[in-house]
């Protein structure tokens, strides 16, 4: 055992961190059933991208239908299935797995200076549930896809086609996968940080993942319970939700939103983390309000358990509960606002290097703030009576989900792409892609605000002719977005073939994943570094000791293929 540099606290967990297995050699163990978090992260990326394309095509079908007030292409029944599948796929099979499974697995272990997650085998199982569940979900098109929206409210979902059962199974399985990931990440972050990396020295992306974990393994279980009850009611006729038999449809709404409101924060808190990495790197300034950003993520995460009924103001819940739910919902806007101001202060006065990730992060600030504001409107009970069930809600959640979650993912992918592949992407095309997406997105969804305020209901295959102009405007703009997405995939493939070599740290970033080669070696670090400070002090020397270059440190060498220590 080597000596410890003076002043470096030795983390209690470095013995197990240091433990190394040899890299697998067979193709299957290396790329298919790998237990390496980075490979699993890439598998999540690829699978999620496939589902993103499918769900995106469904979205374009929706917009094409709405080119005409009478519905351009689909029957009303098919239209119902299309938007239900679009929403379900985007929420559970794109945004959640990408932000947690993909980014979390690829980036988080490296950022805390670990070689892998705490339970690599659990990670493997969690990943493989994802494509299996996805195939089950999409195969419901063969037997009649679910048609009651992604929220599948009873009693409509009780009468829905056979595919609704498959929907239950698929979402249940992906929920198990989320739960596993949540437990795995929490233990990893809690126990496996490099020596010296105290909680307040963790990168903010790690904070984002950490704040998300309780949502993953607590809220998701409630969804599983609701889904199982819906399934057994549909299959075995056990009454839970059917009002004719003494059940209650509002019960479903409670159970569903007890999960799904926390779930919207599963879909945004890791995105906050990405933005908090990208902004200081490209503004070349320390992040403003490190602790406030870190702790507000935790505050949002905990508060999010207590606001679910703001989705149910018009569902006939007891009136005296509306006021508290309205107030707590608005209280969440405070930690969210703290973050927004911290990010703006980070940009303020920085010499911003406008690379694509920085553009996306700034675009995120604009669109996400906008979505947060409309959320505030919706949280006000009297306003919600007017807005609920209209396109205003659609506009709100696309501003936070596309303008927030998806834009943060674009930022993150451009940012970490050189690390994943070792190659740069084409910067000019990247910027063009940003503008196509940003303009296309805003042009698609801004008009929905006023369509909604004028009373255009969501989830209907046709609409009143007075709404035609803005619907056509939105549809055509959505094709611009689609073009941006196609360009995005072109850029990635182009980079794989023609991209310049990136080198370990093309952005001059300071978190640990940039301290190793690109793509990173199998065990991330030859030696586990020690951490002396939070990573954002641009201008000061790097706060790490014992990186590969440090003289005299012993290298960890692989021991044996099987675990040498009996750990039963």
């Amino acid at each position: 055992m080597a000596t410890v540099a003076p002043g470096v606290p030795t983390g209690p967990y470095h013995a197990v961190l240091d433990h190394i297995h040899p890299e697998p050699t067979s193709f299957i163990r290396k790329y298919i059933f790998s237990i390496d978090a980075k490979v699993i992260g890439m598998q999540y990326f690829i699978t999620g991208a496939i589902f993103f394309v499918i769900a995106g095509l469904l979205a374009e079908i929706i917009r094409t239908q709405l080119l005409s007030p009478h519905g351009a292409i689909l029957s009303a029944a098919t239209y119902n299935s299309v938007y239900s599948m679009h929403g379900s796929a985007m929420v559970w099979f794109v945004v959640i797995p990408l932000l947690t499974g993909a980014f979390g697995n690829f980036v988080m272990p490296m950022q805390i200076g670990a070689r892998d997650v705490a339970f690599p085998w659990l990670n493997l199982v969690a990943f493989w549930l994802f494509p299996v569940a996805g195939v089950i979900l999409f195969s419901s098109f063969l037997v009649g896809a679910p048609d009651a929206g992604w929220t599948e409210y009873p009693p409509i979902s009780l009468q829905g086609p056979l595919g609704t059962n498959l929907w239950c199974i698929a979402v249940f399985l992906i929920g198990i996968s989320s739960t596993m990931t949540g437990i795995n990440f929490m233990v990893t972050i809690y126990k496996m940080r490099a020596p010296g990396m105290t909680f307040t020295r963790m990168p903010l992306f790690v904070w984002g993942q950490f704040a998300t974990t309780p949502l993953l393994f607590i809220a998701t279980t409630a969804l599983g319970a609701a889904l199982a009850a819906l399934f057994i009611e549909r299959v075995f006729g056990v009454p839970f939700y059917d009002p004719k038999r003494g059940g209650s449809p509002v019960l479903w709404q409670h159970m569903f939103w007890f999960y799904s409101h926390p779930a919207v924060y599963i879909m945004i808190i890791p995105g906050f983390g990405i933005i908090s990495e990208v902004l200081p790197t490209f503004a070349r300034k320390p992040i403003f309000g490190y602790k406030m950003i870190a702790f507000s993520s935790v505050a949002i995460s905990l508060l999010s358990f207590s606001v679910w009924a703001h989705h149910m103001f018009t569902s006939g819940m007891v009136p005296w509960l509306q006021l508290p739910f309205m107030i707590i919902t608005m209280v969440i806007a405070i930690p969210t606002g703290v973050k927004i101001f911290s990010w703006m202060a980070t940009l303020w006065g920085g010499s911003i290097n406008w690379k694509t990730p920085a553009l996306y992060a700034t675009g995120f600030l604009i669109t996400f703030t906008y979505g947060g504001l409309t959320g505030f409107f919706l949280a006000a009970v009297p306003a919600d009576y007017h807005e609920h069930g209209t396109y205003f809600v659609v506009a709100h959640f696309h501003y936070v989900l596309y303008g927030g979650s998806i834009m943060s993912m674009f930022a993150g992918i451009y940012y970490w792409w050189p690390k994943m592949t070792g190659r740069m992407y084409n910067e000019k095309l990247g910027q063009l892609q940003f503008w196509l997406t940003f303009i296309g997105f805003n042009a698609t969804f801004t008009p929905m605000h006023w369509l909604g305020l004028l009373g255009m209901p969501r989830r209907v295959a046709t609409y009143d002719p007075q709404f035609q102009f803005w619907n056509q405007f939105a549809s055509i703009s959505s094709y611009v977005m689609a073009l941006g997405t196609v360009l995005f995939f072109y850029i990635l493939f182009d980079s794989l073939r023609n991209g310049k070599k990136a080198g370990p740290n093309p952005w001059g970033a300071r978190t640990l994943e940039w301290m190793v080669s690109s793509p990173p070696p199998y065990y991330n670090f030859k030696k586990i570094p020690a951490v002396l400070a939070a990573p954002y002090d641009f201008g000061n020397p790097l706060p790490y000791l014992g990186l590969d270059a440090a003289p005299g440190a012993t290298e960890a060498t692989p021991t044996s293929a099987s675990h040498p220590v009996p750990t039963y």
């Binding site: 055992m1 540099a5 126990k191 839970f240 570094p529 014992g546 440090a550 005299g552 960890a556």
Partner: protein, 211 residues
């Protein structure tokens, strides 16, 4: 040697001895934390259905058990349930002492307590079967009382059944010499799981039989 950091160089000859114990201890701590978090998430599963039960029950006040087709459903059999509950709680206590015996390296006592636990667990399951056969509340799919009762206790029964299998597997492992006096995380996990299943029953017992 210049500045270098707390790095254990694991050479091939490094096995056994002190490091080995540290690695075991750290791995065990991580597994324990993961297992406890799993139990937390399982608590939420039960809580969700408990919430559903309370919600449905309140939605049709003031009559509980409900009146179905003009016919007042009877209450469940409290006396038998009290008896059966003691069987399950007893198994929790025997399991606790099984683990204690293992920690004190008293293998014969461990075996006795382990088998007592398994038999009491099976006894509880048998009691559940008897209860199911005699409950006159219209079956699983008849009404919301049957729906919540059979779903919750059935889910609990599945947990008990899996718990018995878990304990049996653990016992086989002990016979094969997998665990030592100092390394027995499996037994710790099994005990926690079994306690958890018992405690869920405390709540269910109250909600269905005493409320």
């Amino acid at each position: 040697m210049a500045v270098s950091v707390a790095v254990h160089g694991h050479g091939p000859d490094d096995h056994g001895g002190h490091d080995d114990d540290i690695i075991y201890q750290e791995t065990r701590d991580m597994r324990l934390m993961g297992f406890v978090l799993f139990l937390v998430s399982d608590v939420v599963l039960f809580s969700s259905y408990i919430f559903a039960y309370i919600y449905l029950r309140n939605s049709i006040q003031p009559t509980w058990p409900p009146i179905v087709d003009g016919h007042q459903l009877p209450r469940l059999d409290t006396a038998f349930a009290a008896f059966n509950s003691v069987v399950l709680f007893g198994s929790g206590v025997t399991m606790h002492f099984a683990l204690e015996s293992w920690k004190h390296a008293n293998k014969p006592r461990f075996n006795t307590f382990m088998w007592l636990t398994i038999f009491l667990g099976l006894g509880f399951l048998g009691g559940q079967g008897y209860e199911y056969a005699h409950a006159q509340i219209g079956g699983w799919s008849g009404n919301i009382f049957g729906a919540s009762f059979f779903t919750l206790t059935g889910m609990h029964g599945i947990h008990v059944f899996l718990g018995v299998c878990f304990l049996f597997a653990l016992w086989i492992q002990t016979q094969r010499g997998v665990y030592t006096e100092h390394r027995f995380f499996g037994l710790t996990a099994g005990t926690l799981y079994w306690h958890f299943v018992d405690v869920i029953w405390v709540v269910l017992f109250f909600l269905f039989y005493l409320w």
